[in-house]
């Protein structure tokens, strides 16, 4: 296990360097650079100064070497948009996205998996079909549409804040009230992110349970008179977890990509919104920094999924199934 983890972390490091370097180079090579943010008719002296500030007056290779050497010392350069160091911005944004992602993933897990067990272990009936229908709707709605719909409903009803991470009133409040305020702002973006993932979990879990209950060891348990609830929860569910664990890593990727849109629409100050704005502004070092952090999160998600798989399925642990 230790060797496995070491190998995966080494792979993570290579991936982070590759992804962030690719992001840096693609941003550099794509048409228009950060100086275009000064407007079409900015004085040339100002343009030259800004290009030099972001090393755009150097060759691509020279800029990359400079950036890598600085990044090795944990200096990721300055952001044009925010006029401050990239490192601090990414740390703050990652913390905000992590909070949102953990809540969304928890929500998706706690709704998607039980509902999947329910629909997968029942044949026919109105309720399972209703759940299946709702899942199909959620699966077919992209996060952009979900977040816009939720913001619209929130705006019309006032049931939830329409966006942001804290309310205006949170400027002068105690820490506990601040936490409550953040919690009040979480449902909208968390739901927008969680709904398609919950639907994915539900569909996968349902299919997996339906497959497992046809297995001989389940039929044997039925023959032994094991009660239905125990049969499903203790035997079938555990055996069916493999497919769910396998998509957990993908779910983290989905959360990250979904956060691009959801955080932008819901004005959540997270990594997705930061990267989106950085890309639009060709904010080269901020793009590279965000890509590095995104790569790191994705790889860690993959590791987490593997660990969960090993924990959930003894056959994987024992090397029977890979």
């Amino acid at each position: 296990m230790t060797r496995f983890l070491f190998r995966r972390l080494l792979f993570a490091l290579v991936l982070v360097v590759a992804v962030s370097s690719a992001a840096l180079l693609l941003t550099r090579l794509s048409p228009g650079d950060v100086a275009t943010q000064l407007g079409p008719f900015a004085p040339s002296a100002e343009v030259v100064r800004e290009r030099a500030r972001f090393d755009l007056d150097r060759s691509v290779a020279s800029q990359w070497v400079l950036w890598v050497s600085r990044a090795a010392r944990f200096e990721f350069g300055q952001s044009f948009l925010y006029n401050r160091p990239v490192g601090g911005l990414i740390r703050q944004a990652t913390a905000n996205t992590a909070l949102l992602a953990v809540i969304a993933l928890t929500l998706a897990t706690l709704t998607g998996i039980p509902l999947g067990i329910f629909t997968g272990s029942r044949r026919g009936g109105l309720l399972p079909r209703l759940v299946t229908g709702a899942s199909l709707v959620c699966l077919s709605m992209p996060p952009l549409l979900t977040s816009l719909l939720l913001v619209f409903v929130a705006a019309r009803t006032g049931w939830l804040p329409t966006g942001g991470m804290t309310s205006v009133a949170a400027v002068d409040v105690t820490w506990s009230r601040w936490v409550a305020d953040v919690a009040w702002h979480l449902p909208l973006p968390a739901l927008a992110l969680a709904l398609p993932i919950a639907a994915t979990f539900e569909r996968l879990q349902s299919q997996a349970i339906a497959d497992v209950v046809r297995q001989p060891f389940i039929l044997s348990a039925v023959a032994r008179g094991v009660p239905h609830r125990r049969l499903v929860v203790r035997h079938a569910w555990r055996a069916s977890l493999r497919s769910i664990c396998a998509v957990y890593g993908l779910a983290i990727g989905t959360l990250l990509s979904g956060s691009f849109v959801v955080e932008y629409i819901a004005a959540w100050p997270g990594l997705g919104r930061l990267m989106y704005e950085a890309l639009r502004a060709r904010d080269i070092y901020l793009v590279a920094g965000c890509a590095a952090m995104g790569g790191m999160v994705l790889t860690l998600g993959g590791v987490l999924a593997d660990v969960l798989l090993v924990a959930a399925d003894p056959r994987v642990r024992e090397g029977v199934v890979r």
Partner: protein
Amino acid sequence: MRISRFLGILVTAGLMAAGYAAWRSAVPSRPASGLAPQRGGQLVGSTRSELRSYNRLVSREQNTEILSLLTQGRLVRINRSTFELEPWLAESWEASADGRTYTMHLRKGVFWSDGVPFTSDDVLFSLKASYDPRAGSVVVSQLTIGGQPITATAPDSSTVVFTYPAASGPGLRLLDNLTILPKHKLEAALANGMFRSAWDSSVAPADIVGTGPFVVREYQPGQRIVLDRNPRYWRKAPNGDALPYLDRIVLEIVPDQNAELLRLQSGAIDLTQSELRPEDYVAARRSEEQGDLSLLELGVGTDADAFWFCQKPEVKRNDPRFAFVQKPEFRQAISYAVDREQFAEEVFLGAAVPIWGPITPGNRPWFWSEVPRYRHDEDRARALLKSIGLEDRNGNGVVEDARGTEARFTIVTQRGIGWYEHGTAFLRESAARIGIAFDVAPIENGALIQRLLSCDYDAMYFRPLATDLDPAGNLDMWLSSGSGHFWNLEEKTPATEWERRIDTLMLEQASTIDPDRRKAIFNEAQTVFAENLPVLYFAAPRLYYAHRTRVLGIVPSVLRPPALWNADMLSVTGP
């Protein structure tokens, strides 16, 4: 599967019904018009981008401009509603007969927000910082006359004498560009070359002091900027009340304009920093009918969408189409082909007025209604094309010259802007009727600017923003050598005779003091421009602005920010 699909439709319908019911259940607020301003309360606005700097002398970003209006002062200000010059930190002045010397008397009893008295030293310091090459000032071009700086002396702590290197048409209006900054806070930074970064957005707000109505309380990147009332603010209301009325202004950072509108409608924010898009007007009107929003017509915008061909001979010399693109008749033909009334109707949903030049009716002091016009006339357009040898010789619907070069071009425009897409589509259809073929290529903003700067395009459809309403402050567009002379950037010598003529006229009007004479000269420059049509303008949008009804005291402006330029007079009903 059929049942699942049916259930899916059922759930979707249920969601839509719930959304509709929720929308109908929203309780409208009461309009607050006619109420007297109240002291206290908090106004929540929005902004769509981050703050980069607190220092207006080194940054021209919109947020820096807004923060400058809210927290700093100028000696004089141009009223954004009337365009008149008003005394501000200077309460009076005298001008010499030759218009080159201005003696400004500073307002007494003005303090910086940290309690330090405001004096003439601060004015001299701000002017010095504007010209310091290490500071990288962005206002230096607005504060130079014929390439020479303005000089200033301070006979005493409340008097400043400005000496202009030459007579200037705008006169004291130039000083609206000079934000007065605190010498006691920034002198060391200027001395050691750190002025440019001294007031970056990462600086602690407590270090930002000003003479404006508000002080910065907090900046939370990605979330909001919070400003509190400046208790030392000098200005009083006409009835003697201390200003500002508001205790706090919060600017929520909402990058998406759709989300911004929804927040405005829901009451999460009170106002925005931009006018409504044409497509948002109906939704805002509905909210007004429900009593949630007040809808104001700001007037006709001062900037309009422009269409032009790259006319840089160095780049286009080998392009056979340049032979006819550079002829005014070709551009006039396109102008005749476009029905501007219909353009305003279709592109701006009727909320626009036809125009024939860069100065719109929104720029009241400088608009000239007698500028040459090109009424929609397709026969005349075809005749003009024929007069320069362009005819449809092979019957494919596109005109070509004697050598067979077709009048076929690609229009580059910015992607994602609705009225650009509609405008270029209208233009393509209009031009097709006279035999000119346009293909439209919407591209991302950064790529568009790069192409503009390198003249890597046939034609472009875009809205260049004027740097100043006064043409003397916008010479970078008018002069052939200007960095904003967008159809042929920074010409070494005027490429055409008519550009040389415009150069002469613009330099003359910029150095003329008599306002009537200036207007007459500028009218002539506009005429030369409209006759030669280096750039075609079709319609200027009427601007509408929406704010919550609880906000009082808004004096709308066609310039951005439409409401916060007058923030010290704003008030709200309720907390």
